[in-house]
Symmetry: C3
Subunit: 266 residues, 3 copies
């Protein structure tokens, strides 16, 4: 038996909106430690990993590990019926082919039960090793979303270049070129507006803006985003979820020699 009660139900709504553009169907894995998901996007280019730790739930009961295959668009349709202040409880029975989402309004005057059919989904769980990154950028998530959207109006790819002074986002397209530099800036007053850079080696990598824009659907989950870059590894774009866990997106850089040669200096 499974029963997970999340007082801040809007978090689960935001998680679904964050990942459903990339992933259509996925297995949610439930164990005593938490509620998680790992899935490739439908074109098998990007990887999404979600973790909601059991401690973050008001009530968390998971008698044995289970994996529940869900269509994320259908799940999002149901979660959109929850009010933003509702408590959401996810319920499952062993061997059942359905999962139930219960929504309780803060006053308890409105109680909803949405029962959704589960699916059988083949999936392989990839081990993602902890890694050392050449550079880690922390910046306001809304700023990162704005930059990815702005650059998309000019080009298809973004070159992310990190130096000690700052991080530069560049693109080029038919109508011209664009470079946006964000300087390191650890304002103590408003930590959520700070941009901080932890750099071991300068790094300059190229990514498809289409995926970056999909990742930024997670912006409502967190004021800050962490971008971890390394020459040999996929970039990790991470949004922390309150005290509970994270959504992480992984994307391999594009290997474009010309891009590298002509790339502008920070």
């Amino acid at each position: 038996m499974l029963e997970l009660r999340l007082v801040q139900g809007s978090l689960l709504k935001k998680v679904l909106e964050a990942i459903r553009e990339l992933v259509n169907d996925a297995n949610f894995d439930c164990s005593s430690t938490g509620f998680s998901l790992q899935a490739m996007d439908s074109s098998h280019v990007a990887l999404v990993a979600l973790l909601l730790r059991s401690e973050g739930f008001e009530h968390y009961r998971c008698d044995r590990n289970i994996s529940m295959g869900m269509n994320l668009n259908n799940m999002a349709k149901m979660l959109r019926c929850a009010g933003n202040d509702d408590i959401i409880t996810l319920k499952g029975d062993d061997g059942s082919d359905t999962v139930t989402f219960m929504f309780e309004s803060p006053t308890q005057d409105k109680i909803s039960d949405f029962e959704m059919k589960l699916m059988d989904i083949d999936s392989e769980h990839l081990g993602i090793p902890e890694a050392e990154y050449h550079a880690i950028v922390r910046m306001p998530s809304a700023e990162f979303a704005r930059i990815c959207k702005d650059l998309s109006s000019i080009g298809d790819t973004v070159v992310i270049s990190v130096t000690k002074e700052g991080v530069k986002f560049s693109t080029k397209g038919d109508i011209g070129t664009a470079n946006i530099v964000c300087r390191q800036n650890s304002s103590v007053d408003k930590p959520e507006e700070s941009t901080t850079i932890e750099m071991h080696d300068p790094v300059s990598l190229t990514f498809a803006l289409r995926y970056m824009n999909s990742f930024t659907k997670a912006t409502p989950l967190s004021n800050q985003v962490t971008i971890s870059l390394s020459n040999e590894l996929p970039v990790v774009v991470e949004y922390k979820i309150a005290e509970m866990g994270y959504v992480r997106f992984y994307l391999a850089p594009k290997i474009e020699e010309e891009e590298e040669e002509t790339k502008p200096e920070v």
Copy 2:
């Protein structure tokens, strides 16, 4: 001669928006007691009845009963040109084939006259007898609109079941099922947020959500909606219009034996 002056002109704008999705052309009937309309929707399934009593107008002059056929989309186009704070005066002359809407801004600095051609529309006036209903639910109109919209993302019909404790809205569709229960709750502080149930017999009836969603276009007219249910009668969904009258929607229940058998218990 006809001259109806409505200080709160936005009411007439809202009335039009409330009914024009269901009804394309209709006769507005004007008598000494008030301004009214009765019309079937274009698929002849639902009935709309509107009443604006003469006492609600600042000035009301109607020398003899007349019936004016109007295209509601054209009328809505003209009323949308009135400001939300404008005074609206409706003027007609005996035997004329036009009606004039005059809009006066609160400062009287802007005066508009919109003249619209009238139409000949065949219509039969149905007598709607006063009836006893098994159950009458009064609830916040925005909550009812939200529920109809939410359930539409899951299924096509809604089963409305009333018990003394509350009212349940249920649907089922390809992706699963949904039940939403609103408990009776007469908060004295904010009467517009209360849900009250007046029940003589339990009742459980099925309706097409498509029509229910059209009815909820009247939500801006009133904080509360009244849903009157009976096994032998069409449901009445009523929105009161300030001190002036109402918009009422009538819809026959669907007879679906299977639905009845598998319907969930409140």
Copy 3:
């Protein structure tokens, strides 16, 4: 060399949004006195004239007169990437086939460079003589925009008639007719809400609403619009730009004898 630094960068964003619906490609002319543009709309019916005087820029350097051909949609794409509080600097080098827009955030933490390719555009500069107008109407720009939009839902042309008492906007279409009268009203409290009329001769002229609606894209630039009318001249619809200059739109009246005969009296 060219370097124009505009502290209130949002002005330039608004200018582009004001004119790009009418004009696709145009030459921006830069001289020691200011930054200007004159262009016909793509159907060669309306004329747009823009002036931003050099005094309005924080820094203005223009070593010799140059004319830069730009695609206004591409320019708007780049300017949309500037924040509303950003400082915008426009930079060009003699003989270069590109122009650079630099955006600086107020905190200087984000610096963007957008480089756009220039185009060769044939254009003839029309001399627009200063003229005497029969009537000059000054009114709130939002009110004028609302009237043009409202009348468009009824008809295709607007008759603008001016008397000492006020200005009347009229249209007719398949569904009926509309007349909107704005009375002269020089409220001292809020000059931006006043309507003033300077009239030498009564005038009544017909214009295509489609163009008037395009002109009203300039509404965010100014609280007031000035409409200068004369029987022998194109109307001038002018939006002042703070202390810096203006956007002016010129449109020839329609010669429609029937319209004139049946035109309603103010």
